[in-house]
């Protein structure tokens, strides 16, 4: 099992979700985050106050998947979130020690969605 954490542009979120659902990746959590990557700074002015916005709005997706789904998930995110400009975000894949579904107490492979490796088509 792996935990895939992706940081994407907020305006790309609908497309990313669509791509993930098409790839049958249904279980995920999103959060609104702010971050700093290599983007050129943005200057904003409010009356006499000029500021450089160092943090950029991003959306973070956390997805727990079984190993056969790692590439599928990454491909879906890459395909949907890429614009080619600085600031498209990152994908992190980290190993997961244990997953427990709260409702049933199921663990590990039984607890990630989709649960069974045999439904994998790609």
């Amino acid at each position: 099992m792996k935990l895939i954490t992706a940081i994407v542009r907020p305006e790309k979120l609908p497309e990313v979700l669509e791509a993930l659902f098409k790839a049958e990746v249904y279980g995920l959590t999103i959060s609104r985050v702010q971050g700093h990557g290599g983007e050129t700074e943005r200057v904003e002015t409010y009356r006499g106050t000029t500021v450089k916005m160092e943090l950029v709005e991003k959306v973070r997706l956390d997805i727990g998947v079984s190993d056969p789904f790692v590439e599928v998930t990454i491909d879906a995110i890459l395909g949907a979130a890429r614009t080619g400009e600085v600031g498209d975000g990152k994908i992190f894949v980290v190993p997961v020690e244990k997953v427990i579904r709260i409702r049933t107490g199921e663990e590990d492979l039984a607890a990630v969605t989709p649960a069974l490796p045999e439904v994998v088509e790609t």
Partner: protein
Amino acid sequence: MPTPSSLVSGADTAWMLISCALVLLMTPALAFFYGGLVRSKNALNTMMMSVAPLGVIGLLWAVAGYSLAFGQGNAVVGGLGHLLLRGVGVEAHGTIPHVLFMAYQGTFAVITAALISGAVVERMRFGPYLAFIAAWSLLVYAPVCHWVWGGGWLATLGALDFAGGTVVHVNAAAAALVAAAVLGPRRDYGRQALLPHNVPFVLLGAALLWFGWFGFNAGSALAANGTAALAFANTMIAPMATLAVWMGLDLLRTRRVTAVGAATGVVVGLVAITPAAGFVSPMAALILGAVAAVPSYYGILLRSRTRLDDSLDVTAAHGAGGVVGALLTGVLATAAWGGADGLIAGHPGQVGKQAIAVLATALYSAGASFGLLKLIGAFVPLRAEKRHEGLGLDVAMHGEEAYTSGEGAILVLPELAAPRPAAVAVTVPVGGEA
């Protein structure tokens, strides 16, 4: 319009001073109505598309627009006699000071131009937008205003337009329809749900529009008299009827009454009663308001199923509402209430005159708008860049955000900003994530 008199009336002047302020309020009200309907990343840009005309169109009105609309001219356009407001002083125009009449009409020019923005929000560049409405105001609004109210050919024909159903609403809607088509749909249109980001703003805007519309319609009597009172009552009753019917249609279709629907219904009712306000009985206004709900309601549903991204439904609300209002004015007007006799009073010909006014205005406005947009588009791109559309036009066009927490904002001190913000002490996180 009342016959000219050499006397300025104190009562009329008092009412028209208030009316003028009321109509001016409608433009910021429109900013809230439109601003609430768009996504939060475009809220300021959308509101600025209504606020900026207060400056640009207001200025042009004083310089040249008023003269082209109301100066002594021919049947098509006013002359240049009042250029730079020459000859516009405190002398009587009707029963109010001439300068007040000019100011009052200026508020109409401003909101008419701002109405167009509803069709192009979330994708049009700000500069070309301003260039377009500025040119449109002088080349389309001023002449059409002259046709109907400045003694032009539609006035001679006898077309009835009490407060601007044709001059303001049909005129702006035709330009909006063309602008939406020329610009093309937003990139996310039809692919993502584009939801209103602040429905309370929409209701606030509709409420302030209604309030201001009393000045728009009842003020169009240009006097504090019975006609003003009639227009006032009609401006209250017609939108009430539209709102009631609109809620009923919502209920029938989705089993729920919606707030965005209610706000839209009020505006449609106000649009529809505008040409008729001082010409029809209150009961006729009630019928007019109720009937006007139907074409606009289904027009909006129909439009959202097409690729025509008239984003905030200017065509369905102001176009359909304006056409229905103009035609029903020809049906319901009676000389006894102040207008000419219409169809129900035995003069079906009035409906034909109304139709001619609507068609001529819509065709001229649409054609001229197409030409102006193509002309401006030949020099500068009309549309925002793809990445700007994704980022949101607030940041891209104005360098501001409507709702910012201020997190990550680093103050640029003036002395550093002047030459070049070279070595501002910024701690860039090293090895941080995206």
